[in-house]
Symmetry: C2
Subunit: 117 residues, 2 copies
DNA sequence: CTTGCTGTTCAATGAAAAGCGAACACCGAT
DNA sequence: ATCGGTGTTCGCTTTTCATTGAACAGCAAG
C-alpha cells in the first residue's frame, strides 16, 4: 500500500504465447503499425512515449494502433506519470513466432523495384 | 508456333523478389488465404486445381483470393486444359522472406488458449 | 484549484476489402 | 455445334477497419 501505485487503468496486454498467428500477421500488415514497431525496435526499452513516434496519424488513431499492438503481443506499456512508456516484446514475441520480428526489422531488400522496361 | 500454346490469358504473376513486405503480410493475414497456402503446402506442385480446396467461400471469392496470392508471390498458376493448376512458390518466397512460410506452415502452438479462469 | 500535457474513449465518416449471384469465356468431349 | 465443367469478370451488398474531431480522465506543476 505504501508503494506508489498508478490510479490509472492499466492497459490490458496479451502475452505473445496466447496470440493467434492470424492476429500477429494482421497487426503487422499495416503501414502505421509496421512503422511503430520498427521505430520502437530502434530504441531501448521504456524510452519511448506514445506521442514520440513519427507517424502520419492523429492521437486517436495512434491510441487504437497501440491497442492493436498490445493485443498482438508485440508491445508492452507502462504508465509513468502522465505519459505511457513502450517496450517491444522482442524475446517473447520471437519465441512465439520465430523469425517474424527479424523479418519485419530487416531492411527491405527490394520493395518496389520495377520488373523491367 | 507448332508448340501447343494456350489461347487463354495467362495469369499475371509477381515474383516474390518484387513483393513488398507489407503485401506479403497482408496476403497472409486472411483466414481463407492462410488455409489455401497451408493446404497447398501439403500437396506436390501442380497437383491441385483451384476448385479442389476446402474453403468456405464461393468461386468468385476464391478466384479473387488466388489473384491476391499470385500478386504476393506466394502461388504460381499454370493452365492445363479447362483447369488451372497451382504451385506454392516455396523456395522463391522463402528466399525473399526467410522464415515466413515456415512460420505459416508450422502448426500453431497455442492459438486460442484461455488466459486463466 | 486551475492550467497544461498525454493519452483514451465516443460517435461518425470514408475507404478498402470480402462476399455473392449471374453472366461470360475457355477448354475438352460428345 | 453443343454441352458440361472450370475459372474469371462484373455489378452489388455487407462488413471491416483506419481515421478524425471532440469530449473526457489522469497526472504534474504552478
Amino acid at each position: 500500500m505504501t508503494a506508489p501505485r498508478a490510479h490509472r487503468a492499466a492497459p490490458d496486454h496479451t502475452h505473445p504465447d496466447h496470440v493467434p498467428l492470424l492476429a500477429a500477421l494482421s497487426a503487422l500488415a499495416d503501414p502505421v503499425r509496421l512503422g511503430l514497431v520498427r521505430e520502437l525496435a530502434g530504441s531501448a526499452d521504456w524510452e519511448r512515449t506514445c506521442g514520440s513516434f513519427d507517424v502520419p496519424v492523429g492521437k486517436a488513431a495512434l491510441s487504437h494502433h497501440f491497442a492493436t499492438l498490445r493485443a498482438a503481443g508485440l508491445v508492452e506499456q507502462r504508465d509513468a506519470g502522465p505519459r505511457r512508456l513502450n517496450r517491444l516484446r522482442r524475446a517473447e514475441f520471437d519465441a512465439r513466432f520465430p523469425g517474424l520480428l527479424d523479418l519485419v526489422l530487416r531492411p527491405d531488400p527490394d520493395p518496389g523495384l520495377e520488373p523491367e522496361a
